[in-house]
């Protein structure tokens, strides 16, 4: 039995050698485009991943990628070394992504209520016996990956954005609260529901192949 909560604190996005960044950052801040391009190369995957998971659209993610790096370039002087460069970029990318989500919400006048996640906590508890305890160790097979991608894509925007920012990006609740414009308890509540939905999807995946 595992009852130690400390073991499982949501782990943040992989830390990328901040010390190696500082030399490039100093040069880029002086207008060195080669140094900046090296930083871009280093962080493209992380920024693109954030935007893709937030927006569910490769085209929009590609736009956010461009917006983020050009904004970073123009505002490099305002970047202070007290945060990691990667975290700073993630915040910029999250802001651009959220802006697009808000815009979509306005333009897509009719939002089907079918997009809302459904759960039945009691039902899933009684009906299912979770069997994926060792899944972390097992290699993620392609079908499970697809099932998770699909479940994440189906989350409503409200849930997906906090899930991406917390569980994929490792941002603090306070940071997410500020970015999304909701209270910390609301962040936690949405995160919990997103996790329940994703957990159920994974559970179903395993149940179906038994």
């Amino acid at each position: 039995m595992h009852l130690d909560p400390r073991q499982s604190a949501a782990d943040g996005a992989a830390a990328l050698t901040p010390t190696e960044d500082s030399g490039l950052l100093a040069r880029a801040a002086e207008g060195d485009t080669v140094a900046f391009e090296a930083l871009v190369e280093r962080y493209t995957g992380r920024v693109y991943g954030l935007a893709l998971r937030m927006l569910n659209s490769e085209a929009d993610a590609a736009e956010v990628l461009q917006e983020t790096f050009i904004s970073a370039w123009r505002n490099l002087k305002s970047f202070r070394g007290d945060a990691q460069f990667g975290s700073w970029l993630s915040r910029i990318a999250a802001n651009f992504s959220l802006m697009r989500l808000r815009h979509r919400k306005v333009t897509q006048a009719v939002e089907s209520s079918l997009d809302e996640p459904h759960f039945n906590e009691r039902g899933s508890l009684i009906d299912e016996v979770a069997t994926f305890g060792d899944a972390e160790e097992a290699a993620l097979n392609q079908e499970l990956r697809a099932a998770i991608e699909q479940a994440a894509a189906r989350l409503s925007d409200d849930y997906r954005e906090v899930f991406v920012l917390r569980d994929l990006e490792g941002m603090s609740y306070e940071e997410i609260s500020g970015l999304v414009g909701i209270t910390v308890p609301a962040v936690k509540s949405r995160l919990h529901r997103a996790r329940l939905t994703l957990r159920a999807a994974i559970d179903t995946f395993y149940a179906e192949r038994q």
Binding site: M1, H2, L3, P5, R6, S8, A9, A10, D11, G31, T33, F36, E37, V40, T44, G45, Y48, G49, L52, R53, E58, A61, A62, L65, Q66, F69, I70, W73, R74, E121, R122, L125, I126, V129, A130, T131, F132, G133, A135, E136, L140, L144, R145, I148, E149, A152, F163, D167, L168, K188, L191, H192, R195, L196, L198, R199, I202, D203
Partner: protein, 81 residues
């Protein structure tokens, strides 16, 4: 409240894993988890979910996107800030 129901337990999992529950609530939950196999299994799968998702949702940048970014920045970085 003497015990903790399954439903209550599930509602507490996020705060539990964050280590934010009071000692009293935490102890009550731990007791329930010790007695209730389904909840204990549920906790294990709930706990595994973020890490599993993070692995599953790693995105590869399509080459076309990377190329487009490179040429976009080549143009943009020439402009005066």
């Amino acid at each position: 409240m003497s015990g903790t129901s399954c439903k209550d337990s599930i509602a507490l999992l996020l705060e539990y894993l964050d280590g934010n529950l009071s000692d009293e609530v935490r102890a009550r939950l731990a007791t329930h988890l010790g007695d209730c196999t389904p909840c204990e299994e549920f906790l294990r799968s709930y706990r595994a979910t973020p890490g599993l998702c993070k692995k599953a949702l790693v995105a590869r940048v399509p080459k076309s996107v990377a190329d487009k970014l490179t040429s976009f920045l080549k143009e943009e970085l020439k402009k005066p800030v």
